[in-house]
Amino acid sequence: MAGQVDYKTRPIDPDFLQKPDEYPITREHNGHKVRSEGKHRISGDGVTPNPIANGIHGTEVAVDWDTCVADGVCLDVCPVVLFEWALNPGQMGTGKDKPIQQGSEEWTRYRTDKSDPVREPDCIFCMACETSCPVQAIKITQS
């Protein structure tokens, strides 16, 4: 269900770009870099590893997919419409995320749909997504 996961989420590390050993680039996806995919980082309780390991998508517009709970407010607020739902490509906005059945393969891998910064170069650095995200999954870094 959008907005809920079965573990305590941890806000994105705002200094992830300065920690290449901790957040190595693992692949590219939809024109942006993915860091630390496959690594089960510590969850919000400070002890237990996240059950998912999707990594951080994007560089200047970075979304931590292990934190994202598909709330959708970032897709609604972005003035340049740079986010799309990862599992529902081409779809934007609250309620357009792909519903995921608990126990399914997608649930095991993602828990919820994820906000994907597919048009990262369009960012105007207004920071509206970062400030409105309820779980602080987004970090904007203007280079």
Binding site: P11, P14, D76, P89, F125, M127, E130, T131, S132, Q136
Partner: protein, 127 residues
């Protein structure tokens, strides 16, 4: 840019509060973030006014309403209610304000001879 730096700084405070389990401090940071966001909206209104008084007036009416609502909602100690207010009321105004200011800035750049690709977004359609 001062507002953006301030937003970044408050975001860090919010993260620290979340990592230490201080829900009250997280809420306090969210309120401060919203306050700065509304302050930024006010600046955008004044910027857009240089290009279009009618659009600025429309933005100003919505901004003023948000400021009044904010004084009430900030006293409500419910993160969920606060987030729903942001989603339903703040988000459309912020989005429209940023779009209007961005359009004004882009047209200004074009008028000064800068090459602007207005169709860049459409070229990046994923579907």
């Amino acid at each position: 840019m001062d507002v953006k730096h301030k937003l970044s700084s408050i975001s860090r405070d919010r993260r620290t509060a979340a990592l230490t389990g201080r829900a009250d401090r997280v809420m306090e940071a969210r309120v401060r973030l919203t306050q700065k966001t509304l302050e930024n909206c006010g600046l955008l209104v004044e910027y857009v006014r240089k290009f279009s008084e009618p659009i600025a007036r429309d933005m100003e009416i919505k901004h003023s309403r948000l400021l009044r609502e904010f004084e009430h909602i900030r006293e409500v100690d419910s993160p969920n209610a606060f987030h729903e207010w942001i989603r339903s009321n703040v988000v459309p105004v912020v989005r429209q304000s940023e779009q209007a200011a961005s359009l004004a800035a882009t047209v200004l750049k074009k008028s000064q001879g800068e090459k602007i690709d207005f169709h860049r977004w459409a070229k990046r359609q994923t579907r």
